[in-house]
């Protein structure tokens, strides 16, 4: 069987190849060679210049040029600096970072040491979600093994450069993915973001200059050093170099972790790599960027994926969640789902995010329950704009994106809810109605016996009825009926 190889594995190069708990396996695949090269042949400035030339941008969502970030941190004078690896992967439906840490922890450790060498830090901290026990365990083993080999610790490879790495644990707060919140969390405080500037590069952990990068960003570094910036920058589009790892999930056949060159189209991802939609249903949308992103329609299937194109299309790269939706997914409900998430994860510090998202969610709920009006849709847009414009941190500044993008791309679905009281995808329960067609009902009592709330009544061998005031729209009767006597409208 010949398969077109659409994927290119750079960040995931060793995942599934090596035993992550054996450092020798990693060394056999060139682990710590980039660090060796940097320590023996390059000055920090040369390494930074190489990273800058490669065009690598932050993979955590923002897309800030990595080399530039390192340079800024390097240029701040301080007796103590820190390298922080952001492994607080919190997007629902994203597991890129976890896979890297579970499959190839050394790639991240090596890159952190390289970063430390460049910016002048001798301490690295990995902030990782407590929900990732396996990744934590493997990181701990990897750190221990690297220390035993002298690849971390004092005088690495006889270069005189010292670098140690410690672990810090998240405790279930999505907002801690924001770098100032992450730093406060590492300091034992509530993970509330603070206004930037000052950026962590200037004043971060314990007030010291701190360079924060995400797991996937770090995982790219050793390859750039080993293969060269030119090699790396040949992959990708003009402004987005290299590859991006996506967690492909939702109504797609080949759910999984993929790594594709920047510039790959959504169509290639969904149909060629993803194997198309489950049960041959119709593609409706792809959600990228998690709770901060947006929903793309079939019109964007041929758009090359990169930072700028996704933003232009009303979504964003985000950390790399990619959720595929089909015709059964109601876009109003999807917007509501993401709002529920932000609502729960908002830190509560600033008013637009704390109260604004609550109000957005309430309006969306009103619409999904069939009580919405056309004015509510306008209200959603106005409020979304203000929340984006006035929120303190990235979470609030992007939280209305799912709402705005679903309104922009699926306004007809919103209109169907508010004008006709219908949910075209049949997902909004309040707008559903199950009825028994008298002529087709044989009175077999199967629906009666299965109804969990006793909403169905009727005599044996006579047509049954559904009491709409009791019906919870669970759909069990619809599934159980052998005579297609139950209709859903």
């Amino acid at each position: 069987m010949t398969v077109l190889k659409k994927q290119v594995r750079i960040a995931l190069r060793n995942c599934g190849v090596i035993d992550p708990e054996q450092i020798e396996d990693a060394i056999a695949c060139d682990a710590y060679f980039a660090l060796g090269k940097c320590l023996t042949t390059y000055s920090p400035d040369e390494v930074i210049s190489e990273i800058k030339t490669s065009g690598l941008r932050g993979r955590g969502g923002g897309g800030f040029p990595t080399g530039l970030k390192w340079e800024i941190t390097k240029n701040v004078e301080s007796d103590q600096k820190y390298v922080v690896c952001n492994a607080d992967e919190g997007d629902p439906g994203a597991f890129m970072d976890r896979s890297i840490l579970e499959g190839d922890p050394h790639s991240v450790l090596e890159a952190m040491a390289i970063c430390g060498y460049c910016i002048g830090a001798n301490t690295g901290l990995i902030y990782i979600r407590a929900e990732y026990p396996l990744a934590i365990q493997r990181l701990k083993i990897a750190i221990k093994q690297a220390e035993e080999y002298g690849l971390l610790g004092d005088d690495i490879l006889g270069s005189g450069f010292d670098f140690k790495i410690e672990m810090r644990y998240g405790a279930g707060a999505f907002v801690c993915g924001e770098e100032t919140a992450l730093i406060h969390s590492m300091e034992g405080l509530r993970g509330e973001p603070t206004v930037k500037p000052p950026f962590p590069s200037v004043s971060g952990y314990l007030g010291k200059p701190t360079n924060v990068n995400n797991v996937e960003t770090f995982a790219n570094i050793p390859v750039i050093i080993n293969k060269g910036a030119k090699w790396f920058s040949r992959i990708g589009t003009e402004k987005s170099k290299g590859t991006k790892v996506f967690a492909l999930a939702g109504k797609i056949n080949n759910v999984g972790l993929i790594e594709v060159p920047m510039g790959t189209t959504l169509r290639e991802v969904v149909y060629e790599i993803g194997g198309g939609i489950v049960n041959g249903k119709k593609f409706k949308s792809v959600q990228t960027g998690g709770p901060s992103g947006g929903c793309l329609t079939k019109d964007f299937l041929d758009t090359p994926i990169d930072y700028d194109n996704l933003v232009a299309a009303g979504s964003m790269m985000g950390s790399g969640g990619m959720i595929v939706m089909d015709e059964d997914d109601c876009m109003v409900s999807i917007a509501k789902f993401y709002l529920e998430f932000t609502l729960e994860e908002s830190c509560g510090k600033c008013n637009p995010c704390r109260i604004g998202n609550k109000r957005l969610h309430e309006i969306l709920t009103k619409i999904t329950e069939g009580n919405g009006t056309v004015e509510d849709i306008e209200r959603l847009k106005e409020l979304s704009d203000v929340i984006k414009d006035t929120s303190l941190c990235g979470l609030g500044q992007s939280s209305p994106n799912p709402v705005l993008s679903t309104i922009a791309n699926f306004e007809d679905e919103y209109m169907a809810h508010v004008k006709e009281g219908k949910c075209p995808a049949g997902q909004c329960k309040s707008l559903l109605r199950y009825d028994i067609v008298e002529d087709l009902c044989t009175g077999c009592t199967l629906c009666f016996r299965n109804c969990p709330v006793g909403a169905i009544t009727g005599e044996r061998r006579l047509p049954h009825f559904i009491d709409q005031s009791l019906c919870i729209k669970c759909g069990v009767c619809f599934e159980k009926c052998k005579f297609d006597a139950i209709t859903l409208t």
């Binding site: 919190g90 997007d91 629902p92 439906g93 994203a94 597991f95 976890r98 896979s99 407590a130 929900e131 990732y132 810090r168 644990y169 998240g170 405790a171 279930g172 707060a173 999505f174 969390s185 590492m186 300091e187 034992g188 405080l189 509530r190 993970g191 314990l206 967690a247 999930a249 939702g250 109504k251 759910v255 999984g256 959600q287 998690g290 969640g321 959720i323 939706m325 997914d329 999807i334 789902f337 998430f341 729960e344 830190c347 969990p452 669970c474 069990v476």
Partner: protein, 169 residues
Amino acid sequence: MPEIKLSENTIQLIKNICAEFENKENELINVLHRVQGKLGYLPAEVQEVIAKELNIGVARVYGVVTFYSFFTMIPQGEFPISICMGTACYVRGAEQVLAEFKRQLNVDVGESTNDGKFSINCLRCVGACGLAPVVTVGGKVFGRVAPSQVKEIIAEYTQSNSADEAKSA
């Protein structure tokens, strides 16, 4: 506020954990993780001891405990049920599965059943998106769970337990 009297041992345990982190206030979250790991939850009295050991106000400890969803002040059920509410699971029907668990056990998210057997929690992405929707009970993962299977899953634990009781009787 239910008053729980801490045993001398428990207090010593907490003190030892704090001491391991050199009683530094910026290690608060690490301390809470370790203590919850040992005790299963963080009742008020425990937080008071931690505050004293780290020399910070107990309000700050409580502020941190209530900020992070990982920390809990309620003891978990014997069989903690977690329903993954990640996007992948959501679009594959996790909400209906959750509703069914709530209905069957008659408790809300974050609560335990009266007999202390089950508690329900939601979590974000356990990383088994290929098996969506996913439910974990204790350490065991149930994949591709349909609402109709919820009863069976609960029965698996109630029965195994009553079987044990029968044995011991």
